[in-house]
């Protein structure tokens, strides 16, 4: 469904004294997401994983340059195609409710997604209510503002927003930061569910444990590229090849609890 080949992102930035500097954040990255599977991209915080999501959605900042190829359903994802597909065939689940308009009710924002997917306003509203029901959200939630949502509700709303449209690829960018374990599990199950419906899910996270819970495959992101793409089962079987992956595995509390050097 989605394949990223040899992909790089470079930023042009100002260095001290106005010398311009090229900062390559993603280098020669390869990744594939197939329909019906969850692929986790795991890496430490601040390593530029989110940029991968932004690149696929075509919303990188203006000073970013990309090279390599991104294919979506076999065809290159050009800027125009990206513009046409984002929000429709490709949906994003953001990190937190900080990504919702603070002055707009949740319902209006979910409706807006429906409208952007070509639905008329009444139809969008119906779909919204259905989706709310599916995710166990009371219909009153639509009248709430983002700041009124509890952590668990916020998660469900954000997932619901990705589902209102007919997205085939869902990119969840760090969807479980600092949440209660129950909420984490619930959110992850929602993602797994989406994959079972035949959608492709890309889960970007720093939490390898969460990733292993639901991912079919795990791409380990280190120093701007995927150092290893392993089946989730390989982790437990000790079939990991790359030292960084092994280090990540050993750093988990239930294993050796050895801190990752230089993390």
């Amino acid at each position: 469904m989605l394949s990223v080949e040899n992909f790089s992102v470079t930023f042009t930035m100002y260095d001290r004294g106005l010398v311009q500097k090229q900062l390559t954040v993603i280098t020669d990255l390869d990744l594939e997401v197939r329909a019906g599977e969850v692929v986790a991209v795991v890496g430490s915080s601040g390593s530029g994983k989110s940029l991968l999501a932004h690149a696929v959605l075509g919303i990188l900042p203006a000073n970013a340059e990309t090279s390599g190829r991104i294919l979506f359903q076999g065809e290159p994802l050009s800027a125009a195609r990206c513009q046409a597909l984002r929000g429709r065939a490709i949906a994003l689940i953001p990190q937190s409710i900080g990504y919702l308009d603070p002055l707009m009710t949740v319902g209006a924002q979910v409706c807006r997604v429906g409208q952007l997917n070509g639905l008329a306003k009444p139809a969008a509203k119906l779909v919204m209510l259905e989706t709310f029901k599916r995710y166990n959200l009371a219909s009153e939630v639509q009248h709430l503002y983002p700041f009124q949502l509890s952590g668990g509700m916020a998660r469900r709303v954000l997932v619901a927003m990705a589902v209102v449209g007919q997205a085939e690829l869902v990119i969840a960018d760090e969807p479980t930061p600092g949440l209660h374990p129950d909420v984490v599990t619930e959110t992850l199950n929602h993602l797994r569910e989406l994959a079972s419906e035949g959608k492709g899910v890309m889960l970007i996270t720093h939490d390898i444990e969460a990733a292993l819970q639901i991912a079919d495959r795990v791409a380990v992101f280190y120093a701007g590229t995927t150092v290893e793409i392993a089946a989730a089962s390989d982790f437990a079987n000790g079939k990991l090849r790359h030292p960084y992956t092994q280090a990540l595995w050993r750093a988990l509390p239930q294993h050796d609890f050895i801190p990752v050097a230089g993390d």
């Binding site: 949906a91 002055l103 707009m104 503002y145």
Partner: protein, 329 residues
Amino acid sequence: MQLKRLAQFTVRKLIRLVLLLIAVSLFSFVLVSLSPVDPINAYVGAEMLQIGPEQRQLIAERWGLDQPMITRFWLWLQQLGSGNLGTSMIFNQPVGTVIANRFQVSLQMLAIAWLLSGLLGLGLGVLAGAYEGRWIDRTIRFYAYILASSPTFWMALLLLIIFSVTLKLTPICCAAPPGVLATDVTLGQRIHHLILPAVTLSIIGVASIALHTRQKLIEVLNSDYVLFARAQGETLWGIIRHHGLRNILLPAITLQFASLSELFGGAVLAEQVFAYPGLGEATVQAALRSDVPLLVGIVFFSALFVYIGNTIADLTYQIIDPRIRIGGL
């Protein structure tokens, strides 16, 4: 719950208002008592040489000028309590009446200038913010940069030279054609006379609101929620329509209400240039001809005017922003 908060808000605002008005009246009276200007001389003016001491005494008594300052302050405060601001010396009318009449004349001009600068400023600010860094943004910023500190009275002179003297499109002075009775002035004539002063004030007023809106929109466009909206497939103008306006309107409205103070000051200068007989012109007259009751009355009125503006600004936040309205943050 909400009613209670609103009531608290109102009480708080009223207490502040009373404190403010006391401060303003005290301040005015201290200043006036320091003033070397002899109001009797100023009132009598050129006929000074022809009147005797008895007449002087009479005039002084009539205006209450022979009393010591503290007594006068008390008298004045008492009068205020009964709704009487005193009598204007130049107009020989109660100050309240003079202010009411003059403000009515100014009000139309102020309202047009205020609306025009608000809408224009918002529009230009949105354009500049949406096209940040492009030529249209540069043009708008340059305009705002020059106008933010150009002298109002000079701008008024400039417009007068261009539109009244050279092009002869607008009248050169006043609020109505000379020789026409106030009751006979048509709406057309009135608009014809107030358009240039109003435009002067709005041209200047646009600058700050435009710059502020631009800044705010750029902030909004760089926010996380706009990034997410783009990920949902919103276009730039979709984002501005659905998220931008919603988020910049509140600060813009606040700023616009808070700008009433600037507007009032601008009106003083603009009315002076256009010889527009509004409250601003009366302010200058009162100061030039030492009409103390009128001047103090105007100071009072302007404080009230600005305070109301600021209170409405605060109130819009209370009513519109859901985070305050519901969350009580």
